[in-house]
Amino acid sequence: MRATLADRAWYLLTTALRMYRDHADAADWMRHQIDRFEGALRIAVTGPACSGKSTLINALVGDEVAPVGTGFVWYQDGPTPRATLYPPGEAERELPVTRVERGLRVEVPGWLPADADPGEIVVDWPARALRHAVLIDTPAADLDGGTMARVRADADAVVYATPTVAEADLLPLRPGPGSSPGAMVDTILVLSRADEVGGSRIDALSGARVIARRRDRGIAVRGRWQTVVAVSGLLAHTARTLSEAEYAALAALAAQPGADLAGHLLSVDRFTGQAFPVPVDAPTRAALLDRLGLFGVRLASTLIRTDGASQDTLPGLLLQHSGLIELRDAVRELFLDRRQVLKARSALRGLRMAVQVWPHPDAGELSAGIEQALASGHELRELALLASLRAGRTRLSAERTDEARRLIGGYGDDIGTRLGAPEYLDPTRAGTLTEESLHRWRGDAENGTLTEDQRRAARTVVRSCEGLLTELAHTDRR
């Protein structure tokens, strides 16, 4: 069997637990790391103030669960809605929750001082999206790095929501001291107010997508994040929760000829004004504005009028436009499918911290093992290459791109999928396939006509093929 990063992390964790069994604090920490390693992937949604973090969480969960408080709020899957407050240095307390129309409201005690650390709130909520991952809503990522440091300690992966790609908004993402290259294999950047690009004109989202792609391929950003996705959180969330009444109102709008309506969709004042030609009353219009924004109203009415979107198809179309599908794909491909790697990485980092905090006379070998695993973990390199191929930062021929993604586990981690034959594969055939691939990519790795970047990618694929060969050899012996 290949020694995966997860295996090594597990081995190192258990070794460390044995080593520190006489040390209560350290042992607790190790046990906590082991629990975390076995638990669900933790994804933090963070970003600067007013960047739409909570809206993005609502869009991802599909219900209105955020925002809850000012501190860190964890959303995990649970059979019944529940909220527990963990104030710093005090016993946990259950918080009363009420189900509201589209989600949940948590009664946060008003006595929490605004400037003190409000502690953490854990919200249990039955949702499919939370089955494989815990989402963490965080306070605004400020420049002093306090929030980001805690995010990096608590979460395995980060979705960083930012209203613009201006450097000032991205400062909290800058690599901290001592971070290794490729340290950000755990970050997806989200242009979270994509619907506001270019004054919310009708093609705002495509404009945002263009920006996202441009950022994704920029050389300057290499290693700072895995990929950039443009998402309108508001649109996405509303699309997932669009009600019949709302659709009816939108349909009534769309029934009006476009030219008549255009003047009234110019501004929010005109849309909610008295002289509105459509028999939709003002409160409904105001509610629509809250739910979709002016951009959403324009887009939805256009979609109904020109594409004939029905109540069944409109949410899908809106969702597609919102960019949430791309975000979910990215999260699945880069985070969820690779959760073993990401969690192993978190565990190793936690372990490294523990060894530094509680030095142990025999820990030399352990810390060497941790450093080696973190530095040489081939899976981390696979993950970085996968994101690079995905974003188009590394360009190979179409055929090669597909093969590379397959071989480094972009479609699935098991041998069959990697070799392009998911059904039963006899070992001899598998060996031949692997060796062919190995030969091909080795050639690429030494091909002087390719760019350095392409050759680096080829070297990573070669290393993956070698790993496959080792694994096959072990299987044979058994």
């Binding site: 000032a168 908004d169 110019l266 504005l289």
Partner: protein, 567 residues
């Protein structure tokens, strides 16, 4: 009015130059020229993606600045009037481009500067000093951020005319609340910045369709009106107002160091005064010390004399005792010649030891007194503590040989004969009874016997006499020695006393004079320092008064300018 603000500004410039703040003077000079320029430069600033360039375009109804979905404006764009549309690149003071647009709004002298986003380090700072007014652009969707308030606070110090444009009100459902909140926030921050909600999209569309109502909805007419009013009344309102703020800021920065200097408490204990006090203290100490050391010296010397005398007496007595014992046994006649060097030797030794002690003691006395002076001057020992008188220890008489009464041969014969005569006669008579002649063998024998006895008796009595004579002679000699030597010692001690007294008296006088001199000097210095301090304080007060007068004028100017603004 126009001349008044210029007067105040000029006076402030002069004050800056007078206070050595040429940088401030230079900057104000620059601003002065700018305020006299009829054109109005408006800096359009704001965070990224707030719609700054679009705002400029909407103001002019012309695509003067490029707009885009991504970050677009990277260098400042100066938009000014031109008969024909034009565009040039320039690099002074920072890289920027100049765009000429034929628009009526600009003709009156309005110049718009579209700035790159405010960031960590931008050219905003350098350009802020060249602007007459600032137009801060903020998205109505998000409201004013802490950074924007901070920037406003900073900007009004350098450029008091600031307008806040809340953009994109066509998209923000709650822009009215946001505007209200923004106004309250500004009021809390102590800024009376007007807030103008606008929508560039509506304005541009209104221009495209000639829709007057839509144009009114866009909020731009108010913004345009404000800008036009600022341009047309620049000399009457904006210039005095700006001058008031600039001069106030400049004067504050001039006053601050003065106030700081004034606030430092006058150093009551300047170094000179401290030194003076110290010197007086030393002087008093020295005077107290003078009487003490003199009596100590006298006591020491009298102790010394008595000790030395006793020591010498003791030593000579011991010599005498030895001599007595010696001459109880020895015959001075035989031993005298070898005895004399021994005695001289012993006496010399006694004298030397005694004298050495004297030297040692006098040195010790000198050291002890010198130690008392050590606090005033480090090396105060006299060069030598011992000056023997020229004739000291010279005049002890030679030990004269006493009359020892030598037993000469004639005397011996005579004595023997005298003794033997008695015996001879006595026994001759006795034997003559027996019939023997007077001179016979017996009488001869007896005569011989008697002769020898009397010879012996005579010898021993003479020895005793010699011995006592020798003892007496030695005693006399030693007494002489003692008398002479002790006198010399006493003289030397007195000499030492006198020398030490003179030496230390001179030293004390010296020191006293020295300290008095130093004290005089220190007093002079302290007086001068006090005078200087007084002068500096008066000067400070004068400078301060000048600045206060100037500040008063500035306040007048501010009041007038505010009244003008209100009018």
């Amino acid at each position: 009015m126009a001349t008044f603000w210029l007067d105040v500004l000029d006076e402030t410039i002069r004050a800056c130059a007078a206070h050595g703040r040429t940088d401030l003077a230079h900057e104000l000079q620059h601003r002065r020229a700018q305020l006299l320029d009829p054109r109005l430069r408006v800096l359009v600033v704001g965070a990224p993606k707030q719609g700054k360039s679009q705002l400029v375009n909407a103001l002019l109804n012309a695509p003067a600045c490029p707009v885009g979905d991504d970050l677009t404006t990277t260098v400042p764009t100066v938009v000014e009037y031109a008969d024909e549309p034009s565009g040039v690149q320039a690099t002074d003071p920072v890289a920027h481009q100049v765009v000429g647009v034929p628009r009526q709004l600009l003709r009156a002298g309005l110049v718009l500067v579209d700035m790159p986003p405010l960031g960590r380090a931008g050219p905003a700072d350098a350009l802020l000093a060249t602007a007459d007014a600032v137009l801060l652009v903020s998205d109505a969707g998000t409201g004013l951020s802490a950074g924007e308030v901070e920037f406003l606070r900073y900007a009004v110090q350098r450029c008091p005319t600031v307008i806040l444009a809340l953009t994109k009100i066509d998209l923000a459902p709650r822009w009215r609340q946001v505007a209200e909140r923004t106004r309250m926030r500004l009021a809390q921050a102590g800024l009376n910045t007007p807030v103008v909600p606008v929508s560039a999209a509506l304005r541009l569309r209104a221009a495209g369709t000639d829709d007057v109502a839509l144009n009114a909805e866009s909020g731009f007419p108010e913004l345009v009106g404000r800008l036009q009013r600022e341009v047309s009344t620049k000399a009457q309102r904006l210039a005095p107002h700006t001058a008031a703020v600039l001069t106030a800021t400049a004067i504050e920065s001039l006053v601050a160091p003065l106030v700081a200097e004034h606030a430092t408490p006058p150093a009551e204990h300047t170094t000179a005064a401290l030194q003076l006090r110290d010197l007086q203290h030393r002087h008093d100490g020295l005077r107290r010390h003078a009487s003490r050391w003199q009596s100590a010296l006298a006591d020491d010397i009298s102790d010394l004399v008595s000790d030395i005398e006793y020591d010498l007496r003791d030593r000579t007595r011991r010599v005498l005792r030895t001599v007595d014992e010696f001459f109880d046994v020895a015959d001075p006649a035989l031993a005298w010649d070898s005895f004399v060097p021994w005695l001289e030797e012993n006496l010399r030794y006694a004298g030397q030891a005694n004298f050495a002690w004297l030297v040692q003691r006098s040195h010790w006395i000198a050291t002890r007194i010198a130690a008392d002076f050590a606090g005033y001057r480090p090396e105060v020992l006299p060069e030598s503590t011992f000056w023997p008188a020229a004739d000291a220890f010279g005049g002890v008489a030679e030990l004269e040989r006493p009359a020892l009464g030598e037993f000469t041969l004639g005397q011996k014969v005579f004595t023997g004969l005298r003794g033997s005569y008695g015996g001879l006669v006595m026994f001759g008579l006795l034997t003559s009874v027996a019939g023997l002649p007077l001179i016979n063998l017996v009488s001869l024998g007896a005569g011989a016997l008697f002769g020898s006895k009397s010879l012996r008796d005579e010898g021993s009595s003479r020895l005793l006499r010699r011995q006592s004579a020798a003892k007496a002679a030695v005693q006399r000699h030693v007494e002489d020695f003692f008398l002479k030597f002790s006198k010399d010692c006493r003289d030397v001690a007195r000499q030492v006393h006198r020398t030490l007294r003179d030496h230390f008296l001179t030293l004390a006088e010296d020191l006293q004079e020295e300290i008095a001199d130093a004290a005089r000097l220190a007093k002079d210095t302290a007086d001068r320092a006090a005078v200087e301090q007084d002068r500096r304080r008066q000067e400070l007060q004068r400078e301060f008064d000048g600045l206060v007068a100037l500040r008063h004028k500035t306040r007048l100017l501010t009041t007038a300018a505010t009244a003008g603004v209100a009018a």
